[in-house]
């Protein structure tokens, strides 16, 4: 029916500190990020009338409403899937606004991945009994799925562990410029990566994101409303979700011509009317290095199978690379907020307020995790 292009904007962002031992509940961290985002936008708390929830086992939408004393909330939805779902939450929020259910929607993510001071909420998950086909064989962690996909990519295309390492090093360099990042003070070389412990062969410890305690939030409203607010609006050119039946396998087959991320890419670029060469900054959810490499191919930044060569070329490095990646350090080095930090950093880039600021950045592509149902955004100044 209608197109959402440029009709909605992100007008506020907020983050809690990222730490390894906060001793705080996820609700407390979430509220710090949410109130910071409201403040950043120049809104009053009572202006918030929609809440895009996080996974309810942690902090559900009404926990936020209750704590903020919000008496009228006309929009609250829960996104599907952790790392793949974050940009999709923004998409749900603007759909809710377009349907007249809310005007200012706060979206957030709060994790206690490091200290695990979790306060279970009211939710319970009914796990599909399908995990009987995986768990008895020792497939108990996402790293094992990532290892299987990485191995296949190496076999098909000659990709190497050093290619994966190049992504870890890029993200770490960016984190070294970001005073907020958990790895701010810890430089990393490719040799360090190569010597790090094996996790799920061929993946090493440094191919995996760093679990932290932390929260991030942002506020979505209409473009008209955005122009009255404190910050320069960051417009949403495109927003989408995608999944393909191939995901049911669990392990990503990197050779498939069509998968969740390639579907997403097609949707986002056609909605925005752009091509990959129009993108100035990339924010790709990086729970594992190998998935970033595959996403670069599926999104069309290089050809299928050429991800290894592409990441080696320095294209992704601030300040001189053609298209800097995860400029705040990403999940790998800023700290794992399941990709919500990528949205916050994307907004900072377009405000010109990032610590590794890309000169003249006008467009940012935010992409959720690949290898699961995914989602993405194209943002512009």
């Amino acid at each position: 029916m209608e197109s959402i292009k440029d009709r909605y904007a992100i007008v506020g962002i907020g983050q809690s500190p990222v730490t390894l031992r906060s001793g705080r509940s996820e609700l407390s961290l979430a509220l710090e990020a949410v109130t910071a985002a409201i403040e950043d936008a120049g809104l009053h708390t009572k202006d918030i009338d929609g809440i895009m929830g996080d996974h309810p086992i942690r902090v559900d939408a009404m926990a936020i409403a209750g704590a903020l004393g919000l008496r009228r909330v006309g929009f609250f939805i829960e996104p599907e899937f952790a790392g793949g779902g974050v940009p999709g939450g923004i998409m749900h929020a603007l759909a809710g606004i377009a349907a007249g259910r809310a005007e200012h929607v706060v979206c957030y993510k709060s994790l206690n991945g490091a200290s695990k001071v979790t306060v279970p909420g009211m939710a319970f998950d009914l796990a599909p009994h399908e995990n009987g086909f995986t768990r008895p064989f020792g497939l108990l962690d996402p790293a094992a799925y990532a290892g299987l996909a990485a191995r296949r990519h190496m076999h098909e295309y000659g990709t190497t562990s050093r290619h994966f390492g190049a992504i870890a090093v890029t993200c770490r360099r960016h984190a070294n410029r970001n005073s907020h990042a958990i790895m701010h003070d810890r430089p990393l070389t490719l040799e360090d990566h190569q010597q790090s412990e094996l996790l799920a062969d061929p993946l090493r410890i440094l191919d995996r994101c760093v679990d932290v305690d932390g929260a991030a939030a942002c506020i979505v409203t209409t473009a008209e409303r955005a122009r009255d607010l404190r910050q320069r609006p960051v417009y949403i050119m495109a927003a989408g979700q995608a999944l393909s039946p191939c995901l049911a396998r669990g392990t990503k087959d990197p050779t498939l011509p069509e998968n969740e991320t390639s579907l997403l890419s097609r949707q986002l670029f056609s909605m925005a009317g752009l091509t990959p060469s129009d993108i100035d900054v990339l924010q790709i959810c990086d729970d594992f290095t190998c998935y970033v490499l595959m996403a670069l191919e599926d999104l069309g930044f290089c050809r299928k199978g050429e991800g290894g060569g592409f990441v080696e070329g320095g294209h992704l490095d601030w300040p001189d690379g053609k298209i800097p990646l995860n400029t705040s350090g990403g999940n790998l080095s800023e700290g794992n907020l399941e990709g919500f930090n990528h949205i916050v950093e994307g907004v900072r880039q377009l405000r010109g307020a990032a610590q590794a600021q890309v000169g003249g950045a006008e467009t940012v592509l935010v992409c959720g995790a690949t290898g699961t149902a995914t989602s993405g955004l194209i943002l512009r100044r």
Binding site: H129, E130, G132, F133, T134, R135, P136, F137, G138, L139, L140, D141, A143, A144, G147, L148, A149, A150, R151, R152, H155, E197, L198, L199, A200, D201, P202, L203, I205, P245, A248, R249, G250, T251, D253
Partner: protein, 139 residues
């Protein structure tokens, strides 16, 4: 002793029980569409190709090749703290391109595993009346 003794066994469930019952009889059964013949794993209520609800549990050869593999080197989960390093293989069965199973390769050193290695199914009894399909290098 069985490979990875002590990991959580599959729970009984009406959608999946025929698979595990087959394993107990040392038969690898895969769900298959009675109308178009398409194999599907994991089991599904209907055929994603032709949307037929008619299904059978077809016995397959158990032959295939390693599609990918990993060696878990780090105890990511408490249940495997004393079991690393161990391998996980994804095996593509010969019956249909893309028809793949997660399993382990037994009687094979981890450093000898390679993609494309021909394998065949073998069955290992676990505790509680559960039998798991695992794979061995085929001659």
């Amino acid at each position: 002793m069985a490979y990875l003794e002590g990991l959580p066994p599959p729970e009984p469930h009406s959608d999946y029980n025929p698979f595990w019952e087959g394993c107990r009889r040392h038969e690898l059964l895969i769900q298959r569409c009675r109308d178009c013949g398409w194999y599907r794993h994991y089991p599904r209520p209907l055929c994603p190709k032709c949307h037929s609800w008619k299904e059978q549990w077809a016995r397959v050869s158990g032959k295939g090749s390693v599609w990918s593999w990993t060696v878990i080197a780090y105890p990511l989960h408490p249940a495997v703290a004393d079991k690393v390093p161990y391998n996980i293989v994804e095996v593509e069965l010969i019956e249909q391109a893309g028809l793949r199973l997660i399993s382990n390769l037994i009687d094979c050193r981890n450093e000898d595993i390679f993609i494309g290695m021909p394998v065949e199914v073998t069955f290992e009894a676990m505790s509680e009346g559960i039998t798991l399909p695992r794979f061995r290098r085929a001659v």
